[in-house]
């Protein structure tokens, strides 16, 4: 009965050699994986590596982690004690999920983003940022490192709570899709908040602004935590029906589009803020703005075509209103840029005629910034007008009247944005002749101008007897855009003074545009310059021209 094989020896020895071979294969595979992991770790972002090491040694992180674990235990034991034997048949999963969600949402919406902010702020307070900025790390690597570090923390907190969340799936009242959507939203929300916190850290460099930003950030994060809890409660209880609605997913897609484009904008803004002064800080930001606008218009167009009818007007109104405010706000920042173009930027300017025609408005500078804002808004208004005038009158015959009101709204709104941005830019130019004016100062100057133009006539009207003026929308208060535009949104018929208002506002806008045109044209005339000799020399040394390989044996000779 011996299991001996005359050729290979005993069965035991065969199985032993199989086992050895399997173990060897396993060990070799593990070594391969380990080497790959080492390679990944070696190439990982230095800030991510450093901050992960720091976090693992920091008391704050360890105590937060332990507190979360303790809170999870308390919630589990307390919850089960309260629910009691009903846990086997009652729909208690929702309540338990909400309790765990509160434990998870607190670090994800408050601690992680605030730590990301503090991480950058501390670098600036303790002068390590200067040391970091003169290394070979690019600004985007610095932002990636800080963001990556926030994500690692987020994942650790998530891994601490996830067993408890998985436990709720064993109870009644919760379905996996609800949990997945809830967690996805929370993680994305936390990432977005961390990005905004990093932007806040990049923007606030001096002590007093850091204190202000710090307080503001804590308030916003606390409010977001409350909002997340309220939304989660609604979603968990109504999730089953909500998840089966098509509109929910479409709305989610729309929100995600807004989220990703805003994330990209915040990312490019933070990177720009950390860049060296001679770098091109503006062009990536303008691309991000343009893409965000395109996405927004795409969604609005999809909404209008899907709904049709009266919603087209609402969409045009909403698009004009939102993008008017958007380009005004972006314009206040873009017109605050320095008109001087560094040689470094001039090396990368578009060179061909077509390139100059298409991309010159992306060049940094206050003039091109003004042009960029005005051109984008003009495109939006033009598209809106085309849509409005292409709508056929309905049987009820009220469309043409309402279209007229909407058209006036778009045109007058355009005029206000062009005029206020242009005036603000002229004021910035004048102020900068006498004193240094930073970007934040330019933004404030624009706001003060808008407030004065809106508030002074209103104050004058309130001081004088009201009978001397007509009601709101008077031509005497034409400098107030809010008051002037309000009648066009609340009534289907355009006010009687609409043509006069339009002429006045458009005239002012065109005059301001012409006043700005000279300096804008000066900025548009920049041409690409050649690389310095030393740079060419180094590039040639780093990337020597490829010598083509011989294609036949005679080429060797």
């Amino acid at each position: 009965m011996s299991p001996t094989d005359p050729r290979t020896g005993t069965r035991d020895s065969v199985s032993q050699s199989y086992l050895t071979a399997s173990l060897l294969a396993l060990w070799l595979t593990w070594r391969k994986i380990e080497r790959q992991l080492e390679r990944i770790a070696d190439r990982a972002n230095p800030i991510l590596v450093k901050e992960t090491r720091q976090a693992l040694k920091s008391r704050q992180f360890i105590s937060t982690f332990l507190l979360i674990l303790a809170a999870c235990w308390i919630a589990s034991l307390g919850g089960m004690a309260i629910i009691g034997p009903q846990i086997y048949y009652a729909a208690a999963g929702s309540e338990m999920l909400l309790a765990y969600y509160a434990i998870l949402a607190f670090p994800l919406t408050i601690i992680v983003p605030y730590s990301a902010y503090r991480s950058l702020a501390t670098e600036q307070e303790e002068n390590t940022y200067e040391l970091l900025s003169i290394t070979a790390l690019s600004p985007s690597q610095i932002v990636n490192g800080k963001l990556g570090s926030a994500m690692v923390q987020m994942l650790i907190y998530l891994s601490a709570v996830s067993p408890c969340i998985a436990f709720t799936l064993l109870l009644r009242g919760v379905e996996p899709l609800t949990v997945a959507v809830l967690l996805l939203h929370t993680v994305l929300g936390s990432m977005g908040l961390s990005m905004l916190a990093i932007l806040a850290g990049a923007v606030s460099r001096v002590n007093y602004s850091q204190i202000l930003v710090s307080v503001g950030l804590v308030l916003i994060l606390t409010w977001t935590f409350g909002l997340a809890m309220a939304s989660a409660a609604t979603f968990v209880y109504e999730g089953y029906s909500t998840l089966r609605e098509r509109s929910f997913w479409i709305a989610n897609l729309a929100v995600l589009t807004f989220y990703f484009t805003t994330f990209a904008l915040a990312y490019t803004a933070a990177t720009a803020r950390l860049s060296f002064a001679s770098a091109n800080r503006s062009t990536p930001l303008r691309w991000a703005m343009l893409i965000q606008q395109a996405c927004f218009l795409g969604w609005m167009a999809a909404l209008a075509s899907a709904e049709g009818g009266a919603s087209i007007l609402a969409t045009v109104f909403a698009s004009g209103f939102i993008l008017g405010i958007y380009w005004y706000l972006m314009g206040t920042l873009l017109t605050g840029e320095w008109p001087h173009l560094s040689q470094r930027v001039q090396r990368t300017l578009p060179q061909s005629t077509l390139g100059r025609m298409l991309f010159t408005w992306f060049n940094p500078g206050a003039g091109t910034g003004y042009l960029f804002s005005v051109a984008n808004l003009t495109a939006v208004v033009a598209a809106g007008l085309i849509v409005l005038f292409s709508i056929k009158p309905s049987a009820a015959a009220r469309w043409p009247v309402f279209n007229e009101s909407a058209a006036y709204f778009l045109v007058i709104g355009w005029g206000y944005v062009v005029a206020f941005l242009g005036l603000g830019r002229l004021l910035i130019n004048i102020t900068r002749r006498f004193t240094y004016l930073p970007l934040a100062g330019c933004f404030l100057l624009h706001l003060v101008l808008l407030m004065m133009a809106s508030g002074l006539p209103l104050a004058a009207r309130l001081m004088v007897s009201r009978r001397q003026f007509s009601s709101t929308g008077s031509v005497l208060e034409i400098t107030n855009p809010f008051l002037t535009l309000e009648p066009y949104t609340s009534s289907s018929a355009a006010p009687t003074n609409a043509p006069l208002t339009t002429i006045m506002v458009l005239t002012a806008a065109l005059v301001v545009l012409l006043l700005n045109l000279r300096s804008v044209v000066r900025e548009l005339q920049h041409h690409r310059i050649a690389l310095p000799e030393r740079v060419v020399e180094e590039e040639a040394a780093l990337h020597p021209p490829q010598i083509p390989a011989p294609s036949n044996p005679w080429e060797h000779q």
Binding site: K50, Q54, N127, E130, F276, P532
Partner: protein, 315 residues
């Protein structure tokens, strides 16, 4: 890649104004490979400002600074890979040990794999920190932190090192060690720009010095050259074999000589003029038939030169 003829540091009419204050005003000089260049001046003279511009931490109002031919304004990325800057603060992180700190900066300068590990080991040995590899930075003494910062500055083997007050607050032993390290780095071909208030130490390691005051460059050159420019009046000592009385009378009639005192055969006098004039005086004495056995003049120290050149004004 680095051409020996090209200066590794070049300041071209560098200016940096903060409102009305001219922190750096028309400063130009060059530092070549293997040179240790001392940057001297009273507080507020503009040393740190110009060093920060070189390190791409600040921008000049006008003019330019070049590192290995690259402008710090237009090509800061290329400058950063070639330059190590040690500021007058430590800039350390919490919960980080010595090795991790150097590892972080090695990674940040783009060193990977074995190259990074070798660089860290070399720097720790060079700065004598290898015994403290696992010690948290917070627990290091000031001298050790200074060494660590020097290690961080040289981790990517830069061709140019800019050291702002590296010896401040160090004990004598640490200063001597730092001086030796700097000399060794210069011997390895690095161009080193160093500022310090400890002038005696600078005098020992610097090939060239520049003296700044109120943002303006007062003088630049080797210590001997500047000393020669500065020594308008100096003490001369001479001894004779014989003829003491005759020489005393001869000296009293000599132009540029005053305060002659005699003790035995040893003379002490004040002479107006630099080394050239002293050589002429010696020749005249010998030609007059006096048997000179000793002729010496007290060379001015860097501190004397500094006090002579600067006026002690601040802005």
């Amino acid at each position: 890649m680095i051409q020996p003829r090209r200066p590794l540091i070049e300041l071209r009419q560098l200016r940096r104004y903060f409102g009305e204050t001219r922190a750096v005003d028309d400063v130009s000089f060059e530092v070549h490979s293997g040179e240790v260049f001392g940057y001297i001046g009273p507080n507020g003279a503009g040393k740190t400002t110009s060093m920060r511009i070189l390190a791409t931490l600040d921008e000049p109002t006008s003019g330019d600074a070049l590192v290995d031919g690259f402008s710090v304004v237009e090509d800061p990325d290329r400058v950063r890979t070639r330059l190590g800057f040690m500021p007058d603060y430590f800039g350390t992180y919490r919960n980080v040990n010595v090795r991790d700190y150097l590892d972080f900066f090695a990674r940040s300068y783009g060193l990977h794999g074995r190259r990074r590990l070798r660089a860290i080991d070399y720097v720790m040995r060079f700065t004598l920190l290898d015994q403290l590899a696992d010690k948290p930075i917070d627990g290091l003494s000031k001298g050790m932190k200074g060494r660590l910062c020097l290690g961080r500055t040289m981790i990517h083997d830069p061709a140019v090192m800019v050291l702002d007050e590296p010896a401040a607050g160090l004990d004598p032993r640490a200063r001597i060690e730092l001086r030796e390290m700097i000399a060794q780095l210069a011997a390895n071909g690095k161009a080193i720009l160093i500022s310090s208030h400890i002038l005696t130490e600078l005098a020992e390691i610097c090939n060239k010095i520049a003296i700044l005051e109120k943002g303006r460059l007062l003088t630049v050159g080797s210590i001997a050259e500047i000393s020669a420019q500065a020594e308008i009046v100096c003490q001369v000592h001479l001894s004779l074999l014989t003829g003491t009385d005759r020489l005393q009378r001869w000296l009293e009639n000599c132009d540029g000589v005053r305060d002659v005192s005699v003790v035995d055969t040893h003379f002490s006098l004040t002479h107006e003029g630099g080394p050239n004039e002293q050589a002429l005086l010696l020749r005249q004495i010998v030609e007059a038939g006096f048997e000179v056995v000793e002729f010496s003049s007290k060379t001015k120290s860097l501190e004397d030169i500094f006090l002579h050149v600067t006026e002690g004004r601040v802005q």
